[in-house]
């Protein structure tokens, strides 16, 4: 959450760029305001920070830290866009593709998907090195207005936080441990929950991929007008510096 701004802040640097921050702000919050984009997947504006995807890993004081949870500190020198960090991020994203069943050519989230957009930004263009796990996951279409295709879930937990903290419901939660941890619904299926299509957790901005689907609106947005047809993920933050 954003910290309370004080009259006067302090400065630190990200890749040599001087950034102003205020007490209580994270590195990512200060960077966003200054127009410096730090890649992220599990973090989302308006939701509490979780620091689980590690795509926002930066180097601060020689340590690797999650920018979304790391408090900004005066005089700190943060490294963000370095070849080493971007390779690490690309590896993480690549593994996310391998853990699920991400068929971009037929996915209605294509062009609006943050995972796909992050792969483009991180230049994930080479032949993959990891074996696909090809998990067997069923599509839950039991709800009249919402479908859940967990083949595409990256376990970012944004839906869990949105449902608990914004909607006050707890429709979603984690089950399992380690590599088996995944997002599940609080019931036999989605129809058993009190999920509604108007919930913040169901909104297209919360799920970064095509897992939570609002029924009967797929492909309504034409190619060319989708979110990431306009530019690379993070471009709207970077435009603040121009």
């Amino acid at each position: 959450m954003s910290g309370t701004k004080k009259e006067t802040g302090f400065t630190f640097t990200i890749d040599g760029i001087e950034v102003t921050a205020y007490a209580g702000q994270t590195v990512m919050e200060a960077a966003d305001e200054a127009g410096v984009y730090i890649p992220r997947l599990c973090d989302h504006e308006g939701l509490r920070h979780q620091g689980s995807c590690r795509v926002c890993t930066v180097k601060a004081g020689g340590r690797s830290v999650a920018a979304c949870t790391q408090p900004a500190a005066p005089g700190q020198a943060v490294e963000n866009e370095t070849p080493h960090l971007n390779k690490m991020r690309r590896d993480l994203v690549e593994m996310l593709f391998h853990e699920g069943n991400h068929l971009c050519p037929i996915c209605e989230a294509s062009g609006n998907c943050e995972l796909q957009a992050m792969a483009y930004r991180l230049d994930m263009t080479e032949t993959t090195r990891f074996p696909y796990l090809e998990p067997c996951r069923a599509l839950d279409a039991s709800h009249p207005d919402i479908a859940l295709d967990t083949n595409r879930c990256i376990s970012c937990g944004r839906c869990i936080r949105a449902s608990e903290d914004v909607d006050g419901k707890g429709v979603f939660g984690y089950v399992g441990r380690g590599i088996h941890r995944r997002v599940a619904v609080n019931g036999e299926n989605l129809a058993d929950t009190d999920a509604q299509v108007t919930d913040h957790a169901i909104s297209s901005e919360v799920c970064p991929v095509g897992c939570i689907i609002r029924k009967r609106v797929g492909f309504v947005t034409p190619i060319g007008e989708r979110e990431f047809d306009k530019g690379l993920i993070g471009h709207e933050i970077e435009e603040r510096r121009k």
Binding site: P105, A141, A147, G218
Partner: protein, 480 residues
């Protein structure tokens, strides 16, 4: 006397998808049996089950990279029915039609100039290294230039209506997701006169080839058959996007007419044979022996009462005059028919581009939900049927696809045997050029074997000659 032999052409080249031909020669080198085998299995009808209905037009178009628009639109029409929409908004219908005409144009141009032209220009028995589009461009640079630019025009129409040249997302259940901006319209109108002139020249080229090679065209892979296509509901005119089913016998007798395509399963049955992944459809009332039929450009010229665009209709009259108005049974006449359709598409695109409905903003209609939907369209290669059932959760529970190449399965097999008998029987030495004759007969149907089996990759042509004991006598390999 030699021993019986098996000749295998695998895969067949300059067609879309994977297939092979086997030709069995008896001890006297006479063709005993000849078959076109479709050797790939893809399984779209099965794995589409469980997916959500609005995903279907986007998923099933992945059947093909040449005619994805046909599958996209046939599936969208089926989903319209499920969404309870019987009448699209004018903008939606006209945008879809424009997309389809662009698709038919680019696919036909690809086939005629890039795939078939090497055979027609250099001869069926020309050296294999000569039979490709690059040699066509070297020999006839202007023809090659037009081929590329005409295909580009069609592809750009698709991009403007579907968002991408291949595998777009334009059609959605109940409508379309975009209109055509004025600047795009003006871009296309800027070269429509040139496209019309080039399409007329292409018709002239195909017509002249057909008439100048009258004897060859009359006998090469030709045989009587039934024909089926959609025709326009009101007057039986050629309609590539929508209409009712009409079928004719080889002599022009009406077998059925103006039957709504939602009743296709009452008219057509699919037979299965153990040696091919492609089914063999036939007209139920006539039976499998005589009820098989052909679809595609020539079939449409045979079934259509007329064409509602003047230049293409004049060209149709010329084609029909060759057989005095009765159905044309010459397989090679498909090329002429194909170019007439290119001209028709260009004329229709001109009409549409002048229609202000394309700039309309009412894109999607709604209706009362149904459980079943059937969408039929005239794809470049012929009639295309998509049939789905969807449950109350919006998930597909049933899918049946009958694609153009499947309709033509029996016809292609007969053409293969006809050409094999005429050109291979009694020959001691089988040359690569002779085998190409067989492929020419298949190519005339412009088959899409990927669509028909619902395969991708390199298609090196491998021909192997075996003796009766299965011993390899000779082998030739050629890359496409």
């Amino acid at each position: 006397m030699s021993e019986p032999r098996l000749i295998e052409i695998s895969p067949v080249t300059r067609v879309e998808g994977h297939g092979k031909v086997t030709i069995h020669l008896d001890a006297d080198n006479q063709v005993d049996e000849a078959r076109l085998h479709i050797v790939e299995f893809r399984g779209f009808e099965r794995f589409i089950r469980g997916r959500l209905m609005w995903e279907v037009p986007v998923i099933v178009q992945r059947l093909c990279g040449i005619c994805p628009v046909s599958h996209h639109l046939a599936a969208a029409k089926a989903m319209d029915m499920i969404a309870g929409v019987d009448q699209l908004t004018p903008t939606a219908e006209k945008m879809r039609r424009l997309m389809h005409y662009g698709q038919v144009m680019q696919s036909h141009v690809l086939h005629f100039f890039h795939l078939a032209a090497p055979d027609l220009l250099f001869g069926f028995g020309a050296p294999a290294e000569k039979r490709n589009i690059f040699e066509v461009i070297k020999e006839k640079p202007e023809l090659g230039r037009r081929a590329i630019l005409m295909r580009k025009y069609g592809q750009e129409i698709i991009e403007a209506t579907a968002g991408k040249k291949v595998h777009g997302t334009g059609a959605i259940p109940g409508g379309i997701n975009r209109n055509l901006p004025i600047e795009r319209r003006d871009h296309f109108l800027g070269s429509i006169d040139e496209m019309t002139e080039w399409a007329q020249d292409a018709v002239g080229l195909a017509r002249d080839y057909t008439l100048e090679h009258e004897d060859l065209v009359a006998e090469f892979g030709s045989f009587p058959s039934n024909y089926m296509s959609l025709v326009r509901e009101s007057d039986g005119a050629l309609d590539l996007y929508h209409g009712n089913l009409r079928a004719l016998s080889s002599t022009g007798e009406i077998l059925f007419d103006q039957v709504p395509y939602s009743k296709y399963h009452e008219l057509i049955v699919e037979d299965v044979r153990s040696w091919s992944y492609m089914k063999f459809p036939f007209i139920r009332d006539i039976g499998p022996d005589n009820g098989w039929y052909r679809v595609g450009p020539l079939a449409r010229m045979n079934t259509a009462s007329f064409i509602d665009t003047p230049l293409a209709n004049a060209a149709l009259k010329e084609l029909k005059a060759v057989t005095c108005g009765t159905p044309n049974n010459s397989t090679l006449a498909n090329h002429w028919a194909r170019m007439i359709e290119v001209l028709h598409c260009v004329e229709k695109m001109r009409e549409l581009l002048h229609d202000p409905d394309l700039q309309g903003t009412d894109l999607i209609a709604t209706g009362d939900r149904r459980e079943e939907g059937i969408g039929v369209i005239e794809a470049p290669r012929g009639n295309l049927i998509h049939h789905y059932k969807v449950d109350e959760h919006d998930q597909v529970t049933y899918c049946n696809l009958i694609v153009s190449t499947t309709h033509n399965n029996e016809g292609m097999n007969r053409a293969v045997k006809d050409v094999a008998v005429k050109h291979l029987s009694g020959k001691e030495q089988i040359t690569e050029g002779m085998l190409n004759h067989v492929e020419v007969a298949i190519r005339a149907y412009d088959p899409c074997l990927s669509c028909a089996t619902h395969a991708l990759g390199q298609m090196p042509l491998q021909v192997e000659l075996f003796n009766a004991d299965g011993g390899l006598l000779d082998s030739r390999t050629q890359c496409v």
